[in-house]
Amino acid sequence: MNPIERRLQEALRDHLDGLEMPDRFPVVRRRARLQRVLSIAGVVAVIVGGIFAGSALLKKTSDVPNIADEPPSPGLSPLTPVVAGEIRFRGAGAFDLAAGSGAIWVATHEGRESFSTRLLKVDPRANEVEETGVALGGLPAPAEVEVAGDTIWIRGGKLLSVDARTNEVLTETRVPGLGLAARHDSIWTTDVRIDDSTGRVVADFPDAGEGQVVADDHWVWITRKSPPASVSKLDPDTNSVAASVTRDDFYIDTATAEGENVWVAWSNRQDEPPAEITEISGTTDEIVGDVVPIRKSSVVSQMTFGAGRLWVVGHSLNGRASLYQIDPERHEVIGEPFPIEGTVVSLASFGNSLWMSDFDRNVLTRIDLRTCGENGCERERKAEIPEECPTGIEGEGVEAGESVPPRPYFLPYNTFRTRIGKKCAMVLAGLKQKWDPESAVEKGSERQGMVMLFGFPKAAGVRDSSLYSPLKAPIRIVDYDGKSRGATLVLQSLIDCELASFALRSQDFGAADGNYSCPS
């Protein structure tokens, strides 16, 4: 260990040893405490349980519109994406779109000559468009949108930051350079770095490139479009170019960053050979793996990662656009190109969907990235359910490690199977969370909890939600007591650690009562 390492270690020990996290999650000695609580709060429990159970009538998950939960269309060839829907909005077309903070954000325009843009927010669960009221105009156009956490950055004549939850404009500034990327607590253009909290320019690099800026957790990449085209790696710790990769006789049409590498689309417009895509390592600063030729397209205009694949919009000489999917491990185009209409100017992935905006049409296209295999189309399951159906959970707490296929509301925390009366059921309880398969940890109503009950209809062979009860606090299950005609869950609030009981009754299976069976 050298002197600086030793000093660092000493400083860390000096300042951190003895620093303890206050116990905000007291361990509940359930048996003793539960008996006490249950005996005191028995009457309250019944009332609370009745209220909760009654609320099942208010909402069922099956009522929540969610295109992602629709079954895939039959008869699709393997690896063929499915157009899941088109969403119309007010305006003439879109400049750009970005996905994040639970929504799709779209910068629209009013026509080819227009420099004004409005920011729209699209709820991907309901496919509903919301006007944010944020508008701006002026050069540079087209406008660009980026999402960083719960802040939306939109750039037209000015650069605005917008609170994703309230649509309130937080900051407003002007910035030089082209492009927009939000990472490392900063906003980046091809020319400058801007502190995202103050809106001030903190560094400039005017010679890095004039094309596009993309960023990952490690680096910021800036492209120079014209031959000899280059992509430069900017070190966010020093704000200086750390390495460049240049190819003579090539243009760079677009780039996207993933992990610590950048994927670059190159084209040679002299004799129009197929466009090429390369992966450049942020560690070695060299092209890694095979160059991927996009055989039927000479130019690639858009790229993004989604569902573990690189999605590419390529354009052929006759102007036709196609969507390609590339296996990033094997550096190969997989499946057949998927023809797409219009003038696609932006591409973003969100969950199992790919979103495309069109410059000339006021339509967003949503493509389902789930693919079909040899045995037909089946959506990915999160986990297999064990065959056995326990009649209840004995002992302390409940933590059966089971999760369910994606639903509008997804509860990975406490799920278990049980029997209520003569029926086999699955109980889910925990944190209420809007389903977002891409970043399930990041999204959702974190301050709320919920309880759900699923039955197993005889005919369909799939679970059917028959009770949904939102709660005021995120909770976990600390005990369960199954009885012949009902069961009692004991829940603990993760906010104040209070305990409450929740009654599950056999009647909660709803109208289809009698048609349920336990899976063998």
């Binding site: 002197p3 600086i4 390492e5 000093r7 660092l8 270690q9 000493e10 400083a11 860390l12 020990r13 000096d14 300042h15 951190l16 620093l19 303890e20 996290m21 206050p22 905000r24 999650f25 361990v27 509940v28 359930r30 956490g149 719960d150 937080l170 490392h184 607590d185 995202d196 909290s197 957790d217 490690h218 966010p236 710790d237 992990g259 610590e260 942020g282 560690t283 986990a383 002992g395 302390e396 707490g397 409940v398 933590e399 059966a400 490690g401 089971e402 999760s403 509860l411 990975p412 925390y413 406490n414 925990g430 944190l431 969370q433 399930a440 940890v441 974190e446 995120p474 976990r476 993760l494």
Partner: protein, 160 residues
């Protein structure tokens, strides 16, 4: 067997480390407490799905690092707002004991470098483990540590 379980065990085993990591990343005890709690609330939803304790710990640390990014920005905005509302009375952040030159130099490093140094030199985790905990490659971890030490060395005027 105690069924509270995986979550309770994870909390008892790693809450202090997570809190200390959060403190190194934010320089503020209150923010670090909030951040650690939030990390556990979030991880609570996933805890049953982890392969093993190491995987869960790595996920916890990554969550702390990720949360610290947005949190630091929010804290700066809150402080700026407080300063505007109460120019004389705005609370200064609890930046810890700043008399130590090394500590001060550490707190101005980029967050991922700070996290990498914390994992390597405080928790004494191997490079492979620290890389998994930060969700990056081994070479990226080495680069973070090397750049962090280099900056520390420069800011403290220590000869190599």
């Amino acid at each position: 067997m105690e069924r509270t379980g995986t979550f309770g065990q994870l909390y008892r085993a790693h809450s202090s480390s997570a809190f200390r990591l959060a403190y190194v990343l934010t320089g503020d005890k209150h923010t670090a407490e909030d951040l650690t709690q939030e990390a556990f609330v979030r991880i609570g939803r996933k805890v049953i799905g982890f392969r093993d304790a190491e995987h869960a710990r790595a996920y916890l640390f990554r969550t702390v690092v990720n949360l610290s990014r947005g949190r630091a920005r929010r804290a700066r905005l809150e402080r700026a707002a407080l300063a505007r509302l109460h120019p004389q009375g705005a609370d200064e952040p609890d930046a810890g004991p700043h008399h130590d030159e090394t500590w001060r130099a550490l707190l101005i490093l980029p967050k991922r470098q700070r996290a990498a140094l914390f994992l390597r030199f405080y928790l004494d985790h191997s490079e492979e483990t620290a890389a998994a905990e930060l969700g990056c490659s081994l070479s990226a971890l080495k680069s973070l540590v090397s750049r962090g030490l280099k900056t520390l060395r420069a800011s403290m005027g220590v000869e190599t």
